[in-house]
Structures are given as structure tokens and as C-alpha cells.
């Protein structure tokens, strides 16, 4: 499966990098290798670990094709980093964010729900593929 970088994902990485939420080492040693596992989805043991990979949901209802990759206590800031991923014909990286409270999470899921629909309709911007 190919990994598509959407403009939403790029924007969120820009913001997280600007706020120094994670370091280059965090990205190179943890985030990138984990995201690259999507190439062999679902054939990596980590996808069976629901602390790392789980369906995305809003108000108890799963978002069709929506999943979250999760990192706990990442880096020096010990952040709860989340990456929403649309598993459609390809794996679409949608948005990385720091989970702080349930309200933030609910807003992120509402945005993810809308963006999944936009991807299905072919109304999105692709900023390359993760190789």
C-alpha cells in the first residue's frame, strides 16, 4: 500500500515542528519507521496493538476507513501524539496532533470525518508519497 501525504498532514507537521513538539530524532527513530509500516499493512505485529493502532471514532461511532496511529509520552515533551490515517485505496496521512483533552479529540475527529469524505470525492491536495 502506498502512503499519501496530504496537504493537511504537511500543515500539521509544520505546526508541530514550529512548536517543537517533537525532535528530528523522534521523527527519524520512531515516527517515520512506524508510519512506513503502512506499506505492509496489515502485516506488521504493531497493527494488532490497539495502544498503537485503533479505529477512529466520534461519539462512539467508528469513522469508515478512519484509523489513528498513536504514540504515548513521545520525546522530551512526553506528548500524546496522534496521526489520523485514511485507509482507502492508499493510506492517506491526514493530520498529526497532540491529544490534550476529550474536546480536542472530538474536534479532530469531526475534521477527520470531513476530510475522509473529501478524499473519497477526490477533493484534496496530495503533497507526495512517503517512500
Amino acid at each position: 500500500m502506498e502512503i499519501v501525504i496530504t496537504a493537511w498532514a504537511l500543515d500539521s507537521y509544520l505546526e508541530l515542528k514550529h512548536k517543537r513538539q517533537f525532535s528530528t530524532e523522534d521523527y527519524g527513530n520512531t515516527i517515520r519507521p512506524d508510519v512506513l509500516l503502512l506499506r505492509v499493512f496489515p502485516h506488521a505485529p504493531k497493527f494488532s496493538n490497539n495502544k498503537f493502532w485503533s479505529p477512529a471514532a466520534l461519539e462512539g461511532t467508528s469513522l469508515l476507513g478512519g484509523f489513528k496511529m498513536k504514540w504515548h509520552n513521545l520525546g522530551a515533551n512526553r506528548i500524546q501524539l496522534r496521526l489520523s490515517v485514511g485507509m482507502l485505496l492508499e493510506a492517506y496521512l491526514c493530520q498529526a496532533y497532540v491529544k490534550t483533552d476529550p474536546k480536542t479529540e472530538a474536534r479532530q475527529m469531526a475534521k477527520f470525518k470531513t476530510r475522509l469524505e473529501l478524499i473519497r470525492r477526490g477533493q484534496y491536495t496530495e503533497c507526495g508519497r512517503l517512500l
Binding site: E15, H18, R107, K111, K113, E117, Q123, C127
Partner: protein
């Protein structure tokens, strides 16, 4: 959720939330766009419900900024091939974008500030605050709205990192 299949009670609920938004003074252009987008995208309807049920004003502002982001996302009609950016370049690009936005913010402040810009553009103040405080790539449509509102030249809104 497509406009054609949306349940009448949900449509009414959306209109009622729009009325509430009007009462608190949100720009009419924003409210109209939020309603038409919520009629078509359930995630936007979910955000409008969250806004209506929320009592904390800071959280309400965040929801408004999210809705505005989605209005802009949903206005894109096709797939676009954007620029590829290497991870190692993110920091430099973020600094470049921040510098551009800080300069533009100075011009905005010389012209009545965010509140006045919100009135002129129809973009809610929380969205403009998020725009100027973030390192995300500015949308050309937003830059053009700002330029038209403040009578700026193309040079003043020119940046390599927009989309």
C-alpha cells in the same frame, strides 16, 4: 451526508444553530457558508453541534476556527498535486511562513487590526487569529480576501509557501 438526503430535523437544527451564531455576532458570510457546508458534510454538522453545546468561550473559538478550515477544505473541487517537502526542510519552511505572516500581521494592525479585518473579509476573528499565529501554509484564497479587504498589492501577499 449529501444535501439531498439530509433529514429535515437536522436541517432545522443547523438553521437554529445558524440563528444562534448570528445572535453572537459571527460574520453572516461565515454563517451562510457553515450552513451550506454542514448540509453536505456531516463532520461540519458535528462541529456546529459541538459549538452550540459548548459553554467555554475559548473552546467555542477553536470550533469556529475548525469550521472555517473545513469550509475552505470543502470549497476545493478537484484533486491538486501540491509541493513535496522533505522532513529536514520543515523547520526552515515554518520559519519562512511565520516571518511572512508576522509581516502581514503588522500591515493588518496598521489597518484596524484583526477585528476590522474580520468585518471586512467575513472571516471570523478566531480563524484569523489561528491563521496569524500558526506556521501552516496560508491559502491563496485567504490571502486574496485579505488583500482585497485592505487594498494590498500582489507583492504584499506574495509567498512561495501558500496553497
Amino acid at each position: 451526508m449529501r444535501a439531498a438526503s439530509i433529514a429535515p430535523d437536522i436541517k432545522v437544527e443547523i438553521v437554529e444553530i445558524a440563528h444562534e451564531m448570528n445572535q453572537v455576532g459571527l460574520p453572516k458570510e461565515f454563517i451562510a457558508s457553515a450552513v451550506s457546508t454542514a448540509f453536505e458534510f456531516e463532520g461540519v454538522y458535528d462541529l456546529l453541534k459541538m459549538w452550540s453545546q459548548e459553554t467555554d468561550s475559548a473552546e467555542r473559538d477553536e470550533i469556529i476556527a475548525d469550521v472555517q478550515e473545513l469550509i475552505e477544505d470543502c470549497s476545493q473541487s478537484d484533486k491538486i498535486e501540491g509541493v513535496y517537502v522533505r522532513f529536514d526542510d520543515l523547520e526552515v519552511i515554518a520559519k519562512n511562513i511565520r516571518s511572512f505572516k508576522d509581516n502581514l500581521r503588522a500591515v493588518v494592525d496598521q489597518n484596524g487590526g484583526i477585528k476590522n479585518l474580520s468585518t471586512l473579509t467575513g472571516i471570523p476573528q478566531p480563524s484569523l487569529s489561528r491563521f496569524f499565529n500558526s506556521a501552516t501554509m496560508p491559502r491563496r484564497a485567504t490571502l486574496h480576501k485579505i488583500a482585497r479587504a485592505l487594498k494590498l498589492s500582489q507583492i504584499q501577499i506574495a509567498t512561495k509557501w501558500s496553497r
